[in-house]
């Protein structure tokens, strides 16, 4: 789960990281009022959960409250990479002397949190990594020991920070780590961390990704979820306990298991088709989950055929078959459905399906080829 910039910065601020004063506005009038309160030039920043907001024109300076209102009016409602801007952050504009990158990420190879800093802030760290990797200093934190002062100093001296900022930077780096761990983040970035006109360090932009597995114990953060992060369909799938991702193709798929679902997508591609989605019904799904999954798949107008691939184990084939029959009965199914079902209770499942006269196959590759042909209108 992603947090918005303003949410991320507020989390950092709770741990003592200095951030610009600012508030969120959902109307131009609110933006004006906030700018008046700040009493200095402000930056109006669209709050949408995608990168490249600046390039898209979603971040603008406003010197006066009038200008703030005007700029906010322009940015609110703007479309950035398919997302509508519904709120803007009105922040005191920083007089930026230099920009630093500071980020924490879970490094799965090292099995540790990696803290990275660079003197090249304000651009994406991937770009710095590609062009001047020597400008990124990284330390790895022992999971049981936690981040130590010496590691923060290694970063500070490593990026050649002027002596006067070492102590403040060290505190901020330790705070970032603390925020990362206590929020169960998988990524926490301050970019840029600036040295401002008052010669103080300040987190001008921030980003946090949360570990979805930890959301049950992070109630406050979980409550910050922006429903626009996922498409409405993805959100509905999550409510039903399904793992669903929108894709561009024409073959809807419903599979049990993430690896098998990805493999099924790969095979569709291999045989000349394109998957319309990733959909994992998980382990042990009952008829109701199957029904919900099919409802979601069939709503997509691009879907020309549906492929159901079930390898029974914890998931029982008869349960899946019941869900399919229910879906066919209750939904208006206008596209061909190919079922491939193997494993626990496969015979019972086939019997249930028999009435519905659905094409089925034993081998996965065969089923995929049938679905691809069906989608092309070649009949199944």
């Amino acid at each position: 789960m992603k947090l918005h910039e303003y949410q991320s910065k507020r989390v950092f601020a709770q741990y003592g990281v200095p951030i610009p004063s600012g508030e969120v506005a959902t109307t131009p009038a609110q933006a004006r009022a906030i700018a008046e309160g700040i009493g200095k030039p402000v930056v109006i920043k669209s709050q949408v959960l995608v990168g490249g907001r600046g390039k898209a024109g979603g971040i603008k300076l406003a010197r006066t409250p009038d200008e703030a209102e005007e700029v906010a009016g322009h940015i609110l409602g703007m479309d950035i990479k398919g997302l509508t801007v519904k709120q803007v952050l009105v922040d005191e504009a920083a007089d930026i002397r230099s920009e630093i990158y500071l980020g924490a990420v879970l490094d799965r190879s090292a099995r540790k949190v990696a803290i990275m800093a660079s003197s090249e802030g304000g651009v994406e760290i991937e770009e710095v990594a590609a062009q001047t990797p020597e400008k990124i200093i990284t330390v790895h934190v022992h999971p049981l020991l936690g981040m130590q002062g010496f590691q923060a100093r290694q970063l500070a001296y490593g990026i050649g920070l002027p002596k006067e900022h070492i102590a403040a930077f060290t505190r901020i780096a330790l705070s970032l780590y603390q925020a990362f761990v206590e929020s169960d983040a998988s990524l926490a970035e301050i970019n840029p961390l600036v040295i401002n006109g008052d010669n103080q360090l300040q987190a001008v932009d921030g980003k946090i990704l949360l570990d979805d597995s930890a959301l049950p114990r992070q109630e406050q953060l979980a409550a910050l979820r922006d429903p626009d992060e996922d498409s409405p369909t993805e959100a509905e799938a999550r409510e039903s306990g399904l793992s669903y991702i929108d894709l561009d193709g024409e073959i809807g798929c419903m599979v049990n298991g993430a690896g098998l679902a990805m493999a099924t997508m790969d095979i569709i591609k291999l045989y000349g088709g394109n998957p319309a989605n990733f959909l994992d019904i998980g382990g042990g799904a009952g008829a109701d989950k199957v029904l919900a999954a099919l409802r979601i798949i069939l709503r997509d107008a691009r879907v020309k055929a549906v492929l159901i691939n079930i390898f029974g184990g914890i998931t029982r084939c008869d349960e899946v078959a019941k869900g399919i029959v229910e879906a066919i009965t209750s939904l208006n199914v206008e596209v061909p459905i190919v079922v491939r079902m193997v494993g626990v209770n496969e015979d019972e499942g086939r019997q249930i399906l028999a009435a519905s006269n659905l094409p089925s196959a034993n081998r996965l590759s065969e089923a995929v080829q049938m679905a691809v042909a069906a989608a092309k209108g070649e009949g199944a």
């Binding site: 999971p143 570990d211 597995s213 990805m262 493999a263 790969d266 998980g282």
Partner: protein
């Protein structure tokens, strides 16, 4: 022969009185696994799944029954405590089925387990099976058949698919290990490949990977430089869009790391035969028999 589990395995089931734990304990016993005890706080002194004694603590279970392996069916909020308990009690092999354990908890747990003599498989994994001798997991036992192909996989049902295809072609398995899809876990590809390389009962290996992380690349390095037995691989997620989480916490591509293409290239460079779809693995493996 096999790796990790066999007829010597004396299995403890943590969470044996829960619905998952009870069901799979039953299934494992039916398969022939030597299930010696269960551990559930507050249920000590009871019997579960027929005649399996239940203990309040793992230490007590181990002291009484000499359990040398444990399988964990405990909700995510308590699973880390359960696996630390097993490691602290000296259980040699710990298999954690539980999914949705926070990654930072696993980082801490793994750091602790590394300071003990225990091995961990999982979490978020189907477990492992040495066909014909011991099933320590949730896979359907009947699709397996004894033989000499070692299997190591990050995925669950995808592995069943491959096993099914192998068994259909009459190719048996020495041990099939599902290492799980989480970003931070116990044994990884490298560890299991090393065991298969040493195991006299394994003549070739099938590796089933997926997008995310770099474990397959690390495995490729080992295969190229150290491994004498033939390896066949399939990598799932070739068509997955970057930045989206596909069910497994581990299957996320960030910053260009861990694409299927990178992994396939590394494995091909190491001389691994790459299957285009799961069933093709059986075809490729058949050539090595």
């Amino acid at each position: 022969m096999s790796i990790l589990v066999d007829n010597e395995t004396r299995l403890l089931v943590q969470g044996i009185t829960g619905s998952q734990g009870a069901f799979h304990a039953q299934q494992m016993i039916q398969y022939g696994t030597n299930v010696v005890a269960g551990a559930v706080p507050g249920r000590g002194g009871q019997w579960a799944v027929g005649n399996t004694p239940v203990f309040d603590t793992v230490h007590e279970a181990v002291a009484t029954t000499d359990a040398n392996a444990s399988i964990i069916f405990v909700p995510a909020a308590f699973a880390v405590d359960a696996l630390l308990e097993a490691a602290d009690a000296g259980v040699a092999l710990i298999v954690c089925i539980t999914e949705n354990i926070p990654a930072l908890d696993m980082a801490r747990a793994r750091a602790f387990i590394d300071s003990t003599d225990s091995l961990l498989i999982g979490p978020n994994c189907p477990g492992l099976i040495s066909p014909g001798s011991a099933k320590v997991g949730i896979m359907a036992g009947h699709i397996h058949t004894p033989g000499n192909v070692g299997i190591v996989s990050r995925s669950g049902t995808l592995t069943y698919e491959v096993i099914y295809a192998l068994t259909e072609r009459g190719i048996g398995q020495s041990t099939a290990v599902g290492i799980g899809g989480d970003p931070i876990k116990g044994l990884n590809f490298l560890d299991v490949l090393q065991m298969f390389e040493r195991d006299a009962g394994t003549e070739q290996v099938v590796l089933i990977g997926e997008i995310g992380g770099a474990d397959e690349q690390v495995a490729a390095d080992f295969i190229r430089t150290e491994m004498s037995k033939p390896v066949t691989a399939f990598i799932a997620g070739q068509t997955a869009p970057p930045g989206k989480r596909m069910g497994h916490a581990g299957a996320i591509i960030s910053g260009g790391e861990g694409t299927a293409a990178e992994k396939i290239e590394a494995l091909q460079d190491a001389g691994v035969a790459i299957a285009r779809h799961p069933e093709e693995i059986a075809d490729l493996a058949a050539k090595n028999v």
